[in-house]
């Protein structure tokens, strides 16, 4: 562009492409997350859970942990990873977008030559990065304890489970970001996502499976079962029929997500909520 007037310094700036801008947003929100109190709290929670597990296993030597390498990883990781990932989602995603409105930070980050979707994606990546870091810490502690009891030979299923947990994290953050863009109040959006992940999903899953007797394939936490299932010695059957209440009682079908099914649920949740969240954020007004 040829500028005539030497005072038009502005032309020197070349607004970068959207991908670069996503990276910029990610870099600085990640910095903000790293220094935030919630990052510290999550780290403390992870360390506390690890410490309790280490002490309990070391002191009581429970058989469920120590019969085999696989049983160790299953008991240690299978139960806690799903819970922790949900916690990461609530902490980093619960108010990620609503905060831009309520805390008025959107007035600083948005009136620039940048697409809203770039800001959304950048923040989401920052949350994923911050959560992944804490997940890595928990993985490392798990491996350390595993190595202490069973040596360096780690069952390949643990690798699978870590990968699946990370996929689950991707979907959980997609979901919590979407929910946080439904609200303009941070406390509401945190509360709602927390209730969903810590109670409601599990409750609905149980109700649907037990009372309605259909497979709860539409619940994210049902898909997340695969994180624990891959760590069992024998992958749990898709359906098990049990007879309750005496010999003539009603039969009950229990469902267990298969790996392809679980992956599909996780992927679908991520794709749908990411798309909805982006659309919502594009349309939302700063009033």
């Amino acid at each position: 562009m040829i500028r005539v007037n030497s005072t038009e310094v502005a032309s020197k700036n070349q607004v970068p492409g959207s991908l670069t801008q996503v990276g910029v947003t990610m870099k600085y929100t990640f910095l903000d997350y790293l220094r935030s109190r919630r990052f510290f709290i999550l780290l403390v929670i992870v360390l506390l859970i690890s410490a309790i597990l280490t002490i309990v296993v070391g002191y009581y030597r429970p058989a469920s942990f120590l019969t085999s390498g696989l049983s160790f990883y299953s008991s240690w990781w299978g139960t806690s990873a799903v819970f922790l990932v949900a916690l990461f989602g609530i902490f980093f995603g619960g108010d990620a977008i609503s905060g831009e409105f309520q805390n008025r930070t959107g007035y600083f980050s948005l009136p620039h030559p940048i697409r809203r979707s770039s800001v959304y994606a950048g923040k989401w990546l920052a949350a994923l990065l911050a959560s992944s870091m804490i997940l890595v810490v928990f993985t490392a502690i798990t491996l350390g304890n595993g190595a202490y009891y069973f040596g360096m030979s780690v069952p390949y299923q643990f690798g699978e489970s870590v990968l699946l947990a990370w996929f689950y994290l991707v979907a959980v953050l997609g979901f919590t970001f979407f929910f946080s863009s439904l609200f303009k109040s941070t406390s509401y959006s945190i509360l709602v996502t927390a209730v969903l992940f810590l109670f409601a999903f599990n409750l609905i899953e149980t109700l649907v499976a037990n009372l309605v007797q259909i497979e709860p394939w539409f619940i994210l936490t049902y898909g997340a079962q695969i994180i624990g299932s891959v760590l069992s010695t024998e992958y749990p059957a898709h359906t098990t029929t049990v007879r309750g209440f005496g010999p003539n009682g009603p039969t009950l079908t229990l469902y267990n997500a298969t790996i392809p099914e679980g992956l599909a649920i996780i992927a679908a949740y991520f794709i749908v909520t990411a798309a909805l969240g982006l659309i919502l954020f594009e349309r939302k007004e700063f009033t």
Binding site: A10, S11, N13, L31, T105, Y107, P111, H112
Partner: protein, 326 residues
């Protein structure tokens, strides 16, 4: 496309902002009522109106923070809503009082803005230090924003608007939250921008601020544009063609001087004393009369040290216009 052609390439590359039938409704309430405004060229335009008039609404529409119910907002001929990235390429903004991620330092927050806006890497550090010095926050550049006072944050917000050295500024009451010294510093910053060929569109409810730094004024109330014209036209048009200037003198004036001015200088209708070193002079006519008046005054060797359109003149217009829309 034709409009874009004119805006982007025609008219000698002048910066411009344009509202075309711009309307914003909240339910049945109309916050902005089909605003038509075309501001073009390097100048400072004061956007005046009482609280709730629709100033912030207008500026939010120009930065795509909200969507228009109808009409469009254009910057350099580019629609802000459909092509935001292009439209805001060279626009520095300060809308309401933004908050910065609290655990970042001004240096980091401003780096984010600089990188987002494509300030060349080699210049970033210096630009940031320059603007931070300009808003007198250099001591705080590496402290976390979270603990800053409102005024300090507002200074950083001003720095953020200046950072990429844009051609157009959209500022929503930029001196909000600042102490009197801060307010006067903001005025100096805006004045210095005028010297650099920038278009500044600045909302304000402070008449004195607008009189002091703006060339043109747009008045709005109840979402409707009341007037948009140069400051002197607005004041003279609404005072029956009469203009008012306030003249400050070095020495106390003797008793007869206002009479001499009123009778001796062509066009002057009255000269009244505000205090013993200030006169308020009313005169008929435009810029040429004004020039003659000033040279006459200087020629009288009274020690003229200041000469400016009286802010009360704008206030009179403002009050009468605002009252009319009630």
């Amino acid at each position: 496309m034709t409009r874009e052609f004119v805006g982007e390439r025609g008219r000698l590359n002048e910066p411009s902002i344009q509202a075309v039938g711009l309307t914003k409704r909240y339910g049945s309430f109309t916050a902005l009522d089909s605003l038509n405004l075309n501001v073009e060229g390097s100048k400072c335009v004061g956007f005046l109106g009482p609280n709730g008039a629709g100033k912030t609404t207008t500026l939010k529409l120009f930065t795509d923070l909200i969507r228009a119910s109808s009409g469009e907002a254009l910057v350099n001929g580019v629609n802000v809503h459909t092509r935001k990235k292009k439209a805001l390429e060279s626009v520095g903004t300060l809308i309401e009082t933004p908050e910065i991620y609290p655990s970042l330092t001004p240096r980091e927050a401003l780096s984010m803005v600089a990188e987002t806006r494509g300030v060349p890497a080699a210049e970033r550090k210096k630009r940031i230090e320059d603007v931070v010095t300009e808003v007198r926050m250099d001591e705080w550049v590496d402290k976390r924003v979270g603990k800053f006072s409102k005024g300090m944050k507002q200074r950083i917000n001003i720095a953020a608007a200046l950072l990429s050295d844009p051609r157009i500024f959209l500022l929503d009451e930029p001196s909000t939250g600042l102490d009197p010294r801060g307010m006067s510093e903001v005025r100096d910053i805006v004045k210095s921008l005028k010297g650099k060929q920038r278009l500044i569109f600045m909302s304000s409810h402070l008449l004195s601020e607008v009189t002091d730094i703006c060339d043109e004024v747009a008045m709005i109330d109840h979402g409707k544009l009341l007037v948009y014209d140069t400051l002197s036209n607005v004041t003279s048009r609404f005072s029956g063609g009469e203009n008012i200037v306030e003249v400050g003198f070095l020495r106390p004036l003797d008793g007869g001087v206002n009479g001499r001015i009123a009778s001796g200088v062509p066009g002057v209708t009255s000269a009244e004393r505000v205090d013993d070193r200030t006169l308020r002079i009313r005169f008929n006519g435009g810029a040429s009369t004004q020039e003659r008046l000033l040279s006459n005054l200087v020629g009288m060797n009274l020690g003229v040290i200041s000469y400016k359109p009286a802010s009360s003149a704008l206030e009179d217009v403002y009050l009468s216009l605002i009252k009319d829309t009630k």
